[in-house]
C-alpha cells in the first residue's frame, strides 16, 4: 500500500494557517506550495526508488559479465573435438561463486515487499545464466538441473515465502534456452564425428517437450519462447534421422 512502500503518513502536512477543506488544499494558483508539498513528497519517494534501481543495475551489469564468462567457457562444446567436461567445470567454478556473490548483493538491494516491482530488471540475465547452468549439468550428468539445484547454484531461495527466490517462469525459460543451445550442440556433435550423442539428446529433449506440453500457458514471453521449442525439437530429430539413415545404409 501507498503508506507502507512510500512512507506517506496518513495525516497530510498542511501549510500553517491554510484552511483545511479536504486533505490537499487547493485554493488559488498563487497558493502554489500546498499542492507542491504533495508532489515534492512523491519526488522524494521516486528518488529513493531511483537509488534502488541504480544498485540493481550495478549487480545486473556484473551478472552480465559473469554470463559472458560462462558463455566463453562453454563455447568449446560446439567445436569438432573431444569435450572434457571437468575442464570446463573447473573453469566455471569461479564464475559460479561470483554469481552467488552478486545474487547475494541483489537480495540485499531489493526490499522484500518490492521483489516483483523490480524483477523485470534482472530476469533476462538470470534466465540466460540458468540456461548455461542447465547445459553444463546436462553435459555432466545427462539430466535436467532441478529447480531446487538451480536455486542453490544461484545462491538464492527456492520458494517465494523464503525471500529472494528463483522465479518459476525464469527457470522454465532457462530450460527452453538450454534446448536451443542443445540443438546447436547436436548438429556440431555430428560434425565432430560423434554419432551417439544426438540420439541421447533427442530422448532428453523429447521428455522436456512432453513436460512442457502439460503446461497451460498464457500469451506471455514464456509462451512465445515455448513456441520455438518445437523447432529445436525438430532440428534435433532431423539430425538423428540423418545419422540413422546413413548408419542403416552402412
Amino acid at each position: 500500500p501507498l503508506s507502507e512502500s512510500s512512507g506517506i503518513n496518513a495525516e497530510w502536512p498542511l501549510r500553517p494557517g491554510a484552511v483545511s477543506v479536504g486533505n490537499l488544499n487547493f485554493v488559488m494558483a498563487s497558493d502554489f506550495q500546498t499542492g507542491m508539498e504533495l508532489f515534492a513528497h512523491f519526488r522524494d519517494i521516486i528518488k529513493e526508488d531511483s537509488k534502488v534501481k541504480e544498485s540493481i543495475k550495478d549487480v545486473v551489469d556484473n551478472l552480465e559479465s559473469c554470463l559472458i564468462q560462462l558463455n566463453y567457457h562453454l563455447d568449446c562444446i560446439h567445436l569438432p573435438k573431444e569435450i572434457c567436461i571437468s575442464n570446463i567445470t573447473s573453469k566455471t567454478r569461479d564464475v559460479e561463486v561470483e554469481i552467488q556473490t552478486q545474487f547475494q548483493k541483489l537480495s540485499e538491494a531489493v526490499p522484500p515487499s518490492l521483489f516483483f516491482k523490480y524483477h523485470d530488471k534482472w530476469k533476462s540475465v538470470t534466465q540466460q545464466i540458468i540456461s548455461k547452468f542447465c547445459v553444463l549439468h546436462y553435459l555432466e550428468f545427462g539430466k535436467m538441473l532441478s529447480k531446487l539445484d538451480t536455486s542453490n547454484k544461484l545462491g538464492i531461495c527456492t520458494e517465494a515465502n523464503e525471500g529472494f527466490h528463483l522465479v518459476l517462469e525464469d527457470y522454465l525459460i532457462g530450460i527452453l534456452m538450454m534446448v536451443t543451445e542443445l540443438s546447436r550442440y547436436t548438429v556440431n556433435r555430428v560434425t565432430a564425428k560423434d554419432l551417439e550423442t544426438p540420439e541421447k539428446v533427442a530422448n532428453f529433449v523429447r521428455e522436456l517437450d512432453a513436460g512442457f506440453k502439460m503446461l497451460n500457458l498464457k500469451n506471455d514471453y514464456l509462451r512465445k519462447r515455448y513456441d520455438s521449442l518445437k523447432y529445436d525439437v525438430k532440428k534435433i530429430e532431423e539430425v538423428v534421422y540423418d545419422v540413422a539413415l546413413r548408419k542403416l545404409n552402412n
Binding site: G35, L114, L168, L172, R206
Partner: protein, 240 residues
C-alpha cells in the same frame, strides 16, 4: 519414411513415470494457480473500470453554469457517491485475492481499474469539496486494495482531462472565474506531476495528453479575454 514418422516409432520411453513429467505436473499447478488468480483480478478490475467510467460520464452532466440547479446537482453527486461506494465490494475481492501474495506480481491485473476509479473519485471530490483528494483519503475508499503511488499519479493525470472539459464548458457559458480557477488547478497538477518524473507504462503519453489539456484550457481562457476586450471596445464605440 519421413523424419516425423521415424521419431514417433523410436519413442519407447514411458512418459507417465518420467521424473521430468512429474516435476512439470507441479509446475503446471503453480502456473495455473497464479494465472487463474490473475484472471479473477482482471475480471473484477474490468467491472470497476466500467462503473467508474459511467460515474465520470454522469458527473459531466452536472449543469455547468453560474446558475446551477441545486437539486439536480445534488442528485447527480449522490448517485455518483452511491455508485462508487458500491465498488467497495469489488476492491474487497481484490484485496482478498492479494492476501499472502506479492502485490506487484498482480499489479498489472488491477492497475487500470484503480486508475479509472481514482479518476472518478477525485472528480466527484473536486465537485464536492473544491480540492484534490489526497492519497490517504483514496486509500479509505479502496477497502484494503493496495494504492500504489504510480496509480494515484496516473489517476490524477487522467483527472486533468475532466478538468479540461469542465473548464471549456464554463468558458463556453462565459463563467470567467470558474474557467480560470480550473485552468489554474490543471496548471498546478501538470507542474507537479512533471516534477515527479514518474517512469512506467504509458506515463509519458499521459503527461503529453495532460499538457494538451492544459493548452486547450489556456486557449479557451484566451478566447474569453479576447471576447471581453471585444465587448469593451464595442461598448466604447457605442458610447462615442
Amino acid at each position: 519414411m519421413s523424419a516425423v514418422q521415424f521419431s514417433t516409432k523410436r519413442m519407447k520411453y514411458d512418459t507417465a513415470n518420467s521424473d521430468i513429467v512429474k516435476l512439470f505436473d507441479g509446475f503446471r499447478d503453480e502456473l495455473d494457480r497464479r494465472n487463474d488468480k490473475f484472471e479473477r483480478i482482471v475480471k473484477v478490475s474490468r467491472d470497476i473500470t466500467i462503473q467508474s467510467k459511467r460515474v465520470i460520464f454522469n458527473l459531466h452532466r452536472k449543469p455547468a453554469g453560474c446558475q446551477a440547479g441545486e437539486r439536480e446537482l445534488e442528485s447527480i453527486l449522490e448517485d455518483a457517491t452511491e455508485k462508487l461506494t458500491a465498488l467497495r465490494v469489488h476492491f474487497k475481492k481484490i484485496s482478498k485475492e492479494l492476501e499472502g501474495e506479492d502485490t506487484h506480481r498482480f499489479h498489472r491485473a488491477f492497475t487500470n481499474g484503480v486508475q479509472e476509479f481514482i479518476e472518478a473519485l477525485s472528480f466527484l471530490y473536486l465537485l464536492q469539496n473544491n480540492c484534490i483528494i489526497s492519497p490517504s483519503q483514496v486509500e479509505k475508499h479502496l477497502n484494503g486494495c493496495p494504492l500504489l503511488m504510480s496509480d494515484y499519479i496516473a489517476g490524477l493525470a487522467d483527472l486533468t482531462g475532466e478538468i479540461m472539459r469542465m473548464c471549456i464548458c464554463f468558458a463556453g457559458k462565459n463563467c470567467h472565474s470558474e474557467a480560470i480557477r480550473l485552468r489554474d488547478l490543471l496548471f498546478e497538477i501538470n507542474t507537479g506531476i512533471r516534477l515527479c518524473n514518474v517512469s512506467g507504462r504509458g506515463m509519458s503519453q499521459k503527461e503529453e495528453v495532460m499538457l494538451q489539456s492544459l493548452i486547450k484550457c489556456e486557449a479557451s481562457n484566451y478566447k474569453l479575454v479576447i471576447r471581453q476586450l471585444e465587448k469593451e471596445s464595442m461598448c466604447r464605440d457605442k458610447g462615442l
